[in-house]
Amino acid sequence: MQDEPTPTELIKAVADFLRNEITPTIKGHNAFKLRVGINALDLVTRQLALEQGSDAAEAVRLKQLLGMDGSLLELNRALSEKISKGEVDLQTPGLAEHLWQTTMDKLAVDQPNYGSYKRELENK
Protein backbone atom coordinates (compact mmCIF):
# COMPACT_ATOMS: atom_id res chain seq x y z
CA MET A 1 0.00 0.00 0.00
CA GLN A 2 1.36 3.41 -0.98
CA ASP A 3 1.33 6.13 1.61
CA GLU A 4 -0.37 9.49 1.65
CA PRO A 5 -0.61 12.13 0.22
CA THR A 6 -2.54 10.75 -2.75
CA PRO A 7 -1.57 11.46 -6.36
CA THR A 8 -4.55 13.81 -6.61
CA GLU A 9 -3.41 15.79 -3.59
CA LEU A 10 0.14 16.02 -4.94
CA ILE A 11 -0.89 17.14 -8.42
CA LYS A 12 -3.33 19.69 -7.02
CA ALA A 13 -0.63 21.14 -4.78
CA VAL A 14 1.75 21.50 -7.75
CA ALA A 15 -0.95 22.97 -10.00
CA ASP A 16 -1.99 25.48 -7.35
CA PHE A 17 1.62 26.54 -6.81
CA LEU A 18 2.15 27.08 -10.55
CA ARG A 19 -1.18 28.89 -10.88
CA ASN A 20 -0.84 31.19 -7.89
CA GLU A 21 2.90 31.76 -7.47
CA ILE A 22 4.52 31.26 -10.87
CA THR A 23 1.91 32.49 -13.37
CA PRO A 24 2.15 36.14 -12.28
CA THR A 25 5.92 36.11 -12.83
CA ILE A 26 6.01 34.73 -16.40
CA LYS A 27 5.29 36.48 -19.69
CA GLY A 28 5.13 35.73 -23.40
CA HIS A 29 5.12 32.29 -25.00
CA ASN A 30 6.21 30.60 -21.78
CA ALA A 31 3.14 32.02 -20.04
CA PHE A 32 1.02 30.30 -22.68
CA LYS A 33 2.92 27.04 -22.20
CA LEU A 34 2.56 27.31 -18.44
CA ARG A 35 -1.19 27.67 -18.83
CA VAL A 36 -1.28 24.57 -21.02
CA GLY A 37 0.75 22.73 -18.39
CA ILE A 38 -1.58 23.75 -15.59
CA ASN A 39 -4.55 22.68 -17.72
CA ALA A 40 -2.90 19.28 -18.18
CA LEU A 41 -2.45 18.85 -14.43
CA ASP A 42 -6.07 19.85 -13.82
CA LEU A 43 -7.18 17.33 -16.44
CA VAL A 44 -5.23 14.55 -14.72
CA THR A 45 -6.86 15.48 -11.40
CA ARG A 46 -10.32 15.25 -12.97
CA GLN A 47 -9.49 11.93 -14.59
CA LEU A 48 -8.25 10.46 -11.30
CA ALA A 49 -11.50 11.53 -9.64
CA LEU A 50 -13.95 10.47 -12.35
CA GLU A 51 -12.45 7.68 -14.44
CA GLN A 52 -13.27 4.70 -12.24
CA GLY A 53 -16.94 5.51 -11.98
CA SER A 54 -17.46 6.41 -15.63
CA ASP A 55 -15.46 3.43 -16.91
CA ALA A 56 -17.49 1.01 -14.79
CA ALA A 57 -20.79 2.45 -16.00
CA GLU A 58 -19.56 2.44 -19.62
CA ALA A 59 -18.59 -1.23 -19.33
CA VAL A 60 -22.04 -2.14 -17.98
CA ARG A 61 -23.74 -0.33 -20.89
CA LEU A 62 -21.44 -1.87 -23.50
CA LYS A 63 -21.95 -5.41 -22.18
CA GLN A 64 -25.68 -4.94 -22.34
CA LEU A 65 -25.61 -3.39 -25.84
CA LEU A 66 -23.29 -6.03 -27.25
CA GLY A 67 -24.28 -9.08 -25.22
CA MET A 68 -20.63 -9.97 -24.64
CA ASP A 69 -17.89 -9.65 -22.06
CA GLY A 70 -14.41 -8.17 -22.33
CA SER A 71 -12.13 -5.30 -21.42
CA LEU A 72 -13.29 -1.74 -22.08
CA LEU A 73 -10.95 -1.55 -25.07
CA GLU A 74 -12.26 -4.84 -26.51
CA LEU A 75 -15.85 -3.79 -25.99
CA ASN A 76 -15.24 -0.43 -27.69
CA ARG A 77 -13.56 -2.19 -30.60
CA ALA A 78 -16.54 -4.50 -30.94
CA LEU A 79 -19.01 -1.62 -30.85
CA SER A 80 -16.96 0.35 -33.39
CA GLU A 81 -16.99 -2.59 -35.76
CA LYS A 82 -20.74 -3.07 -35.43
CA ILE A 83 -21.40 0.61 -36.13
CA SER A 84 -19.06 0.54 -39.12
CA LYS A 85 -20.84 -2.49 -40.58
CA GLY A 86 -24.25 -0.99 -39.91
CA GLU A 87 -25.21 -3.82 -37.52
CA VAL A 88 -26.19 -1.20 -34.95
CA ASP A 89 -27.26 2.37 -35.61
CA LEU A 90 -29.07 5.27 -34.00
CA GLN A 91 -32.33 3.29 -34.19
CA THR A 92 -30.82 0.56 -32.00
CA PRO A 93 -32.32 0.93 -28.50
CA GLY A 94 -29.74 2.33 -26.10
CA LEU A 95 -27.04 3.24 -28.64
CA ALA A 96 -27.64 7.00 -28.80
CA GLU A 97 -27.97 7.17 -25.00
CA HIS A 98 -24.76 5.19 -24.60
CA LEU A 99 -22.76 7.38 -27.00
CA TRP A 100 -24.09 10.54 -25.36
CA GLN A 101 -23.29 9.38 -21.83
CA THR A 102 -19.81 8.17 -22.80
CA THR A 103 -19.06 11.43 -24.59
CA MET A 104 -20.36 13.56 -21.72
CA ASP A 105 -18.13 11.59 -19.35
CA LYS A 106 -15.11 12.25 -21.60
CA LEU A 107 -15.83 15.98 -21.76
CA ALA A 108 -16.21 16.13 -17.97
CA VAL A 109 -12.52 15.17 -17.85
CA ASP A 110 -11.12 16.68 -21.05
CA GLN A 111 -12.81 20.06 -21.34
CA PRO A 112 -15.63 20.85 -18.90
CA ASN A 113 -15.66 24.46 -20.14
CA TYR A 114 -16.39 23.51 -23.74
CA GLY A 115 -19.46 25.41 -24.98
CA SER A 116 -21.32 22.41 -26.40
CA TYR A 117 -20.77 20.44 -23.20
CA LYS A 118 -22.05 23.23 -20.98
CA ARG A 119 -25.12 23.60 -23.20
CA GLU A 120 -25.86 19.87 -23.06
CA LEU A 121 -25.53 19.88 -19.25
CA GLU A 122 -28.13 22.67 -19.09
CA ASN A 123 -30.46 20.88 -21.46
CA LYS A 124 -30.35 17.61 -19.61
Binding site: S84, L107, G115
Partner: protein, 329 residues
Protein backbone atom coordinates in the same frame (compact mmCIF):
# COMPACT_ATOMS: atom_id res chain seq x y z
CA UNK B 1 22.16 35.64 -40.22
CA UNK B 2 18.81 35.47 -41.96
CA UNK B 3 18.75 39.28 -42.01
CA UNK B 4 21.92 39.31 -44.11
CA UNK B 5 20.48 36.81 -46.58
CA UNK B 6 17.18 38.66 -46.71
CA UNK B 7 19.02 41.96 -47.15
CA UNK B 8 20.91 40.65 -50.18
CA UNK B 9 17.70 39.15 -51.55
CA UNK B 10 15.53 42.30 -51.27
CA UNK B 11 18.32 44.48 -52.70
CA UNK B 12 17.99 42.52 -55.93
CA UNK B 13 14.32 43.43 -56.54
CA UNK B 14 13.09 46.17 -54.16
CA UNK B 15 13.91 49.62 -55.55
CA UNK B 16 16.22 51.48 -53.18
CA UNK B 17 16.31 48.79 -50.52
CA UNK B 18 19.27 49.16 -48.19
CA UNK B 19 18.67 46.15 -45.96
CA UNK B 20 16.17 44.51 -43.65
CA UNK B 21 15.44 44.90 -39.94
CA UNK B 22 13.48 43.22 -37.18
CA UNK B 23 13.42 39.71 -38.63
CA UNK B 24 11.53 37.35 -36.30
CA UNK B 25 10.20 33.85 -36.77
CA UNK B 26 6.41 33.75 -36.36
CA UNK B 27 5.85 30.03 -36.67
CA UNK B 28 7.62 27.05 -37.95
CA UNK B 29 7.73 23.32 -38.05
CA UNK B 30 10.64 21.38 -39.47
CA UNK B 31 9.66 21.88 -43.09
CA UNK B 32 7.96 25.28 -43.22
CA UNK B 33 8.63 28.63 -41.58
CA UNK B 34 7.01 32.06 -41.52
CA UNK B 35 9.13 35.15 -40.79
CA UNK B 36 8.19 38.78 -40.38
CA UNK B 37 10.65 41.57 -41.23
CA UNK B 38 10.89 45.14 -42.48
CA UNK B 39 12.43 46.13 -45.78
CA UNK B 40 14.45 49.29 -45.10
CA UNK B 41 14.65 51.81 -47.93
CA UNK B 42 15.23 55.51 -48.48
CA UNK B 43 11.53 56.30 -48.03
CA UNK B 44 11.24 54.46 -44.69
CA UNK B 45 10.36 50.81 -44.21
CA UNK B 46 7.85 48.31 -45.59
CA UNK B 47 6.49 45.32 -43.69
CA UNK B 48 7.03 41.94 -45.31
CA UNK B 49 6.49 38.25 -44.61
CA UNK B 50 8.71 35.38 -45.72
CA UNK B 51 7.07 32.01 -46.09
CA UNK B 52 9.58 29.32 -46.90
CA UNK B 53 10.81 25.79 -46.70
CA UNK B 54 14.42 26.17 -45.48
CA UNK B 55 17.20 24.88 -47.74
CA UNK B 56 17.09 21.08 -47.78
CA UNK B 57 13.32 20.89 -47.42
CA UNK B 58 12.14 21.03 -50.99
CA UNK B 59 9.18 18.72 -51.24
CA UNK B 60 5.96 19.57 -49.49
CA UNK B 61 4.18 16.90 -47.43
CA UNK B 62 1.23 14.84 -48.71
CA UNK B 63 -1.72 17.16 -49.04
CA UNK B 64 0.14 20.45 -49.33
CA UNK B 65 -0.25 22.48 -52.50
CA UNK B 66 3.39 23.59 -52.34
CA UNK B 67 4.78 27.06 -51.79
CA UNK B 68 4.97 27.93 -55.49
CA UNK B 69 1.28 27.14 -55.88
CA UNK B 70 0.48 29.15 -52.74
CA UNK B 71 2.28 32.17 -54.18
CA UNK B 72 0.42 31.87 -57.49
CA UNK B 73 -2.96 31.57 -55.75
CA UNK B 74 -2.33 34.53 -53.45
CA UNK B 75 -1.30 36.70 -56.36
CA UNK B 76 -4.35 35.58 -58.38
CA UNK B 77 -6.61 36.46 -55.43
CA UNK B 78 -4.86 39.81 -55.05
CA UNK B 79 -5.20 40.59 -58.76
CA UNK B 80 -8.91 39.73 -58.59
CA UNK B 81 -9.39 42.39 -55.91
CA UNK B 82 -9.86 39.87 -53.09
CA UNK B 83 -8.34 40.56 -49.67
CA UNK B 84 -4.96 38.94 -50.14
CA UNK B 85 -1.37 40.08 -49.66
CA UNK B 86 0.57 41.07 -52.75
CA UNK B 87 3.34 38.58 -53.52
CA UNK B 88 6.53 40.64 -53.77
CA UNK B 89 9.08 38.00 -54.71
CA UNK B 90 9.26 34.26 -55.34
CA UNK B 91 12.54 32.87 -53.98
CA UNK B 92 15.22 31.87 -56.47
CA UNK B 93 18.11 29.46 -55.88
CA UNK B 94 20.61 32.37 -55.78
CA UNK B 95 18.71 33.89 -52.84
CA UNK B 96 19.97 30.91 -50.75
CA UNK B 97 16.84 31.12 -48.60
CA UNK B 98 15.27 27.83 -49.65
CA UNK B 99 11.97 27.73 -51.54
CA UNK B 100 9.01 29.99 -50.91
CA UNK B 101 8.05 33.60 -51.35
CA UNK B 102 7.99 37.06 -49.80
CA UNK B 103 4.71 38.91 -49.48
CA UNK B 104 3.35 42.18 -48.22
CA UNK B 105 2.66 42.17 -44.46
CA UNK B 106 -0.94 43.05 -43.61
CA UNK B 107 -1.66 44.32 -40.10
CA UNK B 108 -4.54 42.86 -38.13
CA UNK B 109 -5.59 39.98 -35.91
CA UNK B 110 -5.84 36.25 -36.66
CA UNK B 111 -6.59 34.90 -33.16
CA UNK B 112 -10.25 33.86 -33.01
CA UNK B 113 -10.76 34.55 -29.31
CA UNK B 114 -9.53 38.14 -29.68
CA UNK B 115 -11.63 38.77 -32.79
CA UNK B 116 -14.70 37.55 -30.89
CA UNK B 117 -14.03 39.43 -27.62
CA UNK B 118 -11.97 42.59 -28.24
CA UNK B 119 -13.75 45.91 -28.39
CA UNK B 120 -11.79 47.04 -31.46
CA UNK B 121 -13.57 44.38 -33.56
CA UNK B 122 -17.08 45.22 -32.30
CA UNK B 123 -18.04 46.91 -35.57
CA UNK B 124 -16.45 44.18 -37.71
CA UNK B 125 -18.20 41.21 -36.09
CA UNK B 126 -21.74 41.87 -37.37
CA UNK B 127 -20.56 42.29 -40.97
CA UNK B 128 -17.95 39.54 -41.16
CA UNK B 129 -20.08 36.53 -42.13
CA UNK B 130 -21.59 38.30 -45.13
CA UNK B 131 -18.21 39.73 -46.12
CA UNK B 132 -16.57 36.30 -45.92
CA UNK B 133 -19.39 34.87 -48.04
CA UNK B 134 -18.50 37.35 -50.78
CA UNK B 135 -14.78 36.67 -50.38
CA UNK B 136 -15.05 32.90 -50.60
CA UNK B 137 -17.36 33.24 -53.61
CA UNK B 138 -14.62 35.33 -55.21
CA UNK B 139 -12.06 32.64 -54.47
CA UNK B 140 -14.33 29.99 -55.99
CA UNK B 141 -14.68 32.14 -59.07
CA UNK B 142 -10.94 32.65 -59.73
CA UNK B 143 -10.04 31.90 -63.36
CA UNK B 144 -9.32 28.20 -63.83
CA UNK B 145 -7.01 28.89 -66.76
CA UNK B 146 -4.37 30.50 -64.54
CA UNK B 147 -4.41 27.93 -61.74
CA UNK B 148 -1.35 26.00 -60.67
CA UNK B 149 -1.48 22.21 -60.56
CA UNK B 150 -3.49 21.11 -57.52
CA UNK B 151 -4.94 17.84 -56.26
CA UNK B 152 -8.57 17.17 -57.05
CA UNK B 153 -10.80 16.05 -54.19
CA UNK B 154 -14.29 14.64 -53.93
CA UNK B 155 -16.40 13.83 -50.90
CA UNK B 156 -15.80 10.13 -51.57
CA UNK B 157 -12.01 10.58 -51.57
CA UNK B 158 -12.12 12.76 -48.46
CA UNK B 159 -14.17 10.15 -46.55
CA UNK B 160 -11.70 7.45 -47.59
CA UNK B 161 -8.71 9.59 -46.53
CA UNK B 162 -10.25 10.35 -43.14
CA UNK B 163 -11.16 6.72 -42.59
CA UNK B 164 -7.66 5.53 -43.48
CA UNK B 165 -6.09 8.02 -41.11
CA UNK B 166 -8.51 7.18 -38.29
CA UNK B 167 -7.88 3.44 -38.71
CA UNK B 168 -4.11 4.01 -38.61
CA UNK B 169 -4.45 5.24 -35.00
CA UNK B 170 -5.82 1.82 -33.99
CA UNK B 171 -7.92 3.33 -31.19
CA UNK B 172 -11.68 2.69 -31.25
CA UNK B 173 -13.97 5.72 -31.30
CA UNK B 174 -17.60 4.70 -31.75
CA UNK B 175 -18.70 8.31 -32.41
CA UNK B 176 -16.21 8.67 -35.27
CA UNK B 177 -17.48 5.34 -36.67
CA UNK B 178 -21.00 6.70 -36.54
CA UNK B 179 -19.90 9.85 -38.37
CA UNK B 180 -17.99 7.87 -41.03
CA UNK B 181 -21.05 5.67 -41.58
CA UNK B 182 -23.29 8.75 -41.79
CA UNK B 183 -20.98 10.37 -44.34
CA UNK B 184 -20.69 7.22 -46.48
CA UNK B 185 -24.47 6.84 -46.55
CA UNK B 186 -25.04 10.46 -47.52
CA UNK B 187 -22.08 10.96 -49.85
CA UNK B 188 -23.59 13.28 -52.49
CA UNK B 189 -21.11 12.09 -55.14
CA UNK B 190 -18.96 14.37 -57.29
CA UNK B 191 -20.05 17.99 -57.31
CA UNK B 192 -21.44 19.28 -60.61
CA UNK B 193 -19.65 22.49 -59.84
CA UNK B 194 -15.90 21.95 -59.37
CA UNK B 195 -13.88 25.03 -58.39
CA UNK B 196 -10.77 26.10 -56.53
CA UNK B 197 -11.34 25.30 -52.84
CA UNK B 198 -9.24 27.18 -50.26
CA UNK B 199 -9.32 24.17 -47.94
CA UNK B 200 -8.65 25.94 -44.62
CA UNK B 201 -10.94 28.98 -44.63
CA UNK B 202 -11.38 29.73 -40.89
CA UNK B 203 -10.09 31.72 -37.89
CA UNK B 204 -6.32 31.66 -37.80
CA UNK B 205 -6.03 32.02 -41.56
CA UNK B 206 -8.01 35.26 -41.83
CA UNK B 207 -6.53 38.65 -40.96
CA UNK B 208 -9.28 40.77 -39.43
CA UNK B 209 -9.15 44.49 -38.74
CA UNK B 210 -11.68 46.83 -37.09
CA UNK B 211 -13.07 47.32 -40.62
CA UNK B 212 -13.54 43.61 -41.37
CA UNK B 213 -11.56 41.02 -43.31
CA UNK B 214 -8.23 42.22 -44.67
CA UNK B 215 -6.56 39.08 -45.96
CA UNK B 216 -7.01 35.38 -46.52
CA UNK B 217 -3.86 33.41 -45.72
CA UNK B 218 -2.46 29.91 -45.81
CA UNK B 219 -3.40 28.28 -49.10
CA UNK B 220 -1.47 25.16 -48.16
CA UNK B 221 -4.55 22.93 -48.43
CA UNK B 222 -5.95 24.48 -51.62
CA UNK B 223 -7.35 21.98 -54.13
CA UNK B 224 -10.05 21.56 -56.75
CA UNK B 225 -13.35 20.22 -55.50
CA UNK B 226 -16.82 20.99 -54.20
CA UNK B 227 -16.99 24.71 -53.33
CA UNK B 228 -19.49 23.94 -50.55
CA UNK B 229 -16.57 22.39 -48.61
CA UNK B 230 -15.22 25.85 -47.67
CA UNK B 231 -18.66 27.00 -46.47
CA UNK B 232 -19.06 23.90 -44.30
CA UNK B 233 -15.54 24.13 -42.83
CA UNK B 234 -15.97 27.70 -41.57
CA UNK B 235 -19.16 26.59 -39.76
CA UNK B 236 -17.42 23.82 -37.76
CA UNK B 237 -18.08 24.41 -34.05
CA UNK B 238 -14.38 24.17 -33.18
CA UNK B 239 -13.88 27.70 -34.63
CA UNK B 240 -16.73 29.28 -32.65
CA UNK B 241 -14.71 29.63 -29.43
CA UNK B 242 -17.71 29.26 -27.15
CA UNK B 243 -20.12 31.38 -29.24
CA UNK B 244 -21.89 28.20 -30.25
CA UNK B 245 -25.08 29.86 -31.46
CA UNK B 246 -23.22 31.79 -34.15
CA UNK B 247 -22.20 29.07 -36.57
CA UNK B 248 -19.91 31.14 -38.77
CA UNK B 249 -16.72 31.54 -36.73
CA UNK B 250 -18.67 32.53 -33.61
CA UNK B 251 -19.64 35.88 -35.20
CA UNK B 252 -22.37 35.24 -37.76
CA UNK B 253 -25.21 33.17 -39.13
CA UNK B 254 -25.28 30.75 -42.03
CA UNK B 255 -27.92 32.97 -43.64
CA UNK B 256 -25.52 35.94 -43.65
CA UNK B 257 -22.70 33.82 -45.06
CA UNK B 258 -24.97 32.40 -47.76
CA UNK B 259 -26.39 35.84 -48.61
CA UNK B 260 -22.88 37.23 -49.14
CA UNK B 261 -21.99 34.22 -51.26
CA UNK B 262 -25.06 34.61 -53.47
CA UNK B 263 -24.59 38.38 -53.79
CA UNK B 264 -21.35 37.55 -55.55
CA UNK B 265 -23.29 35.55 -58.12
CA UNK B 266 -22.79 32.00 -56.87
CA UNK B 267 -25.33 29.48 -55.59
CA UNK B 268 -25.37 27.82 -52.17
CA UNK B 269 -26.52 24.24 -51.61
CA UNK B 270 -27.32 24.26 -47.86
CA UNK B 271 -27.64 20.47 -47.61
CA UNK B 272 -24.17 20.02 -49.07
CA UNK B 273 -22.80 22.69 -46.74
CA UNK B 274 -24.22 20.73 -43.78
CA UNK B 275 -22.66 17.53 -45.14
CA UNK B 276 -19.26 19.26 -45.28
CA UNK B 277 -19.75 20.67 -41.76
CA UNK B 278 -20.09 17.11 -40.46
CA UNK B 279 -17.07 16.08 -42.54
CA UNK B 280 -15.10 19.07 -41.22
CA UNK B 281 -15.99 18.33 -37.61
CA UNK B 282 -14.76 14.75 -38.03
CA UNK B 283 -11.70 16.00 -39.91
CA UNK B 284 -10.69 18.30 -37.05
CA UNK B 285 -11.27 15.47 -34.57
CA UNK B 286 -8.99 13.18 -36.55
CA UNK B 287 -6.42 15.97 -36.85
CA UNK B 288 -6.43 16.24 -33.03
CA UNK B 289 -5.77 12.49 -32.81
CA UNK B 290 -2.93 12.97 -35.30
CA UNK B 291 -1.35 15.59 -33.02
CA UNK B 292 -1.40 13.05 -30.22
CA UNK B 293 0.35 10.52 -32.50
CA UNK B 294 3.07 13.02 -33.36
CA UNK B 295 3.46 13.79 -29.66
CA UNK B 296 4.03 10.10 -28.93
CA UNK B 297 6.40 9.45 -31.78
CA UNK B 298 8.30 12.73 -31.51
CA UNK B 299 10.04 14.83 -32.62
CA UNK B 300 7.50 17.34 -31.29
CA UNK B 301 7.11 15.97 -27.79
CA UNK B 302 5.33 19.05 -26.48
CA UNK B 303 2.59 19.51 -23.88
CA UNK B 304 0.58 21.52 -26.40
CA UNK B 305 0.40 18.65 -28.86
CA UNK B 306 -0.40 16.19 -26.11
CA UNK B 307 -3.23 18.38 -24.87
CA UNK B 308 -4.65 18.88 -28.36
CA UNK B 309 -5.03 15.10 -28.45
CA UNK B 310 -7.50 15.49 -25.61
CA UNK B 311 -9.60 17.90 -27.67
CA UNK B 312 -10.85 15.24 -30.07
CA UNK B 313 -13.68 14.53 -27.61
CA UNK B 314 -14.91 18.09 -28.32
CA UNK B 315 -15.58 17.06 -31.88
CA UNK B 316 -17.36 13.91 -30.65
CA UNK B 317 -19.92 15.96 -28.73
CA UNK B 318 -20.30 18.26 -31.75
CA UNK B 319 -20.83 15.28 -34.03
CA UNK B 320 -23.50 13.92 -31.68
CA UNK B 321 -25.19 17.33 -31.61
CA UNK B 322 -25.27 17.23 -35.42
CA UNK B 323 -26.19 13.56 -35.95
CA UNK B 324 -28.15 12.55 -32.84
CA UNK B 325 -29.47 15.73 -31.22
CA UNK B 326 -31.20 15.16 -27.89
CA UNK B 327 -34.75 16.26 -27.21
CA UNK B 328 -34.23 19.77 -25.89
CA UNK B 329 -31.13 20.58 -27.94
Amino acid sequence: MIEDQLGRCVASWYPGATGVAGAAKLSGGASQETWTFDIVHAGGSTGAILRRAPPGYGASPGRAAGLDAEATLMQLAHDAGLPSPRVMHVLKPEDELGTGFIMQRIEGETIGRKILRDEQFAKARPILARQLGRVIAGIHGLPASKMPKLREMTATKEIADLEREYRSFNWPRPVFELALRWLRERDPGPSKDVTLVHGDFRHGNLIIGPDGVRAVLDWELAHFGDPMEDLGWICVNSWRFGEIDKPVGGFGTREELFAGYEEAGRRVDPARVMFWEVMGTLRWGIMCCGMMQRFRMGPDHSMERAMIGRRSSETEIDLLRLLAPRGGA
